[in-house]
Symmetry: C2
């Protein structure tokens, strides 16, 4: 079909979820080891990312922001066997670097960033296993001081291990980057990469307070 569907991402890293589910803000009761009903989690997030710009330098930047994550209905009622699928539908993080200036990270809406929470294969015999969360993310990094907008073509794989409640609010996580993840210039998207993400550590925050829509 040649007709573009509004907001239909060109690339999907996994299943697309129904967003017609409750929008969840603070306060919420999260019960450990219990599959929750479907919902959209509005959570804080912090991240420390390191960027390498060949010939210029390596820069580590702290980010602060929030995410909106759609969660599917769990596949079973049992913590040990259940699987939950996720779509990251909003991401806003802001950081400041003395050298690079301000950096804003948002989602690349050409991609559907998707993930899942399930029991790791090596813990399948446990009655109350810690679960693992993985999410493949397409992002845009805007650096107005440098007049640059960068994006990744290979997804950034964000993982959280030792998940004992859903959502894993407060859990630390990692970007699984082997040496380097190439970043491309939006204005010259078919050319060689201009920078690299070399490491990423993050921490999921807790539920946000709902702010009235303008």
């Amino acid at each position: 079909m040649a007709t573009a569907v509004k907001n239909e991402p060109r690339i999907k890293y996994g299943p697309q979820l129904d967003t017609n589910v409750p929008d969840l803000f603070d306060p919420q009761t999260v019960t450990p080891y219990t599959p929750p009903p479907a919902g959209i989690d509005n959570l804080g997030i912090t991240s420390v990312d390191t960027f390498k710009v060949p010939g210029v330098g390596e820069f580590t930047v702290e980010f602060n922001g929030h995410v909106r994550v759609v969660r599917s209905k769990p596949t079973t009622d049992e913590w040990a066997t259940t699987e939950v699928y996720t779509n990251l539908i909003e991401l806003h993080m802001h950081g400041e670097s003395p050298e690079l200036g301000p950096i804003d990270v948002t989602l690349n809406h050409e991609c559907l960033s998707t993930g899942m929470i399930r029991t790791p294969f090596d813990a399948e015999s446990e009655s109350q296993p810690a679960k693992a969360c993985r999410m493949a993310v397409g992002a845009v990094f805007e650096l107005p001081k440098l007049g640059l907008k960068l994006f990744n073509k290979e997804p950034v794989l964000l993982t959280i291990d030792d998940v004992r409640s859903i959502p894993p609010a407060g859990n630390p996580g990692k970007g699984q980057i082997y040496q380097m993840l190439p970043l491309y210039d939006v204005e010259n998207a078919e050319a060689e990469p201009v920078a690299f993400l070399t490491s990423l550590s993050f921490r999921m925050g807790t539920y946000l307070t709902e702010t009235p829509q303008p």
Copy 2:
């Protein structure tokens, strides 16, 4: 541009290369620490992949086959600073498993599988560094005994370290898989994953002998 270009992949993991370069078969002289002219390498490859099929089991399968890799003109004449970009334009591997039956691995032509060879950032001060090769690959795994055709939506990242000649014929490499890489059923592509790749080790072979085209 709305007009579809023939064979134009929907997803590109990096820059697309000119394939109008010499097609290289055995015998070739590969000189260590020397950037070679652009070309297409026809090389053997072997791989050991482990698949997890939830509820069924985990299966390790040995594969044997060949690849065709386009290499770009090196960005400089100097080994230490040069960068070479690659496109994997053909992949054929065959394996047999007692449980899963025969498995054929080919490229997913919806994706352009791309890579690069460059000096790792932590070796940039060395005069004759070992280089690193990385390639993001979209593949199709055909399992006729099970009537299944599987594909990955997140690229498989294949890496080769300690690269002292280009191409890195004979070098071992790894699929950088954190716990699991989801595989989807071509016939039900929007649904949940049906299997996972849990590990992958490979070894690049040497140049193939040219066989007359039928």
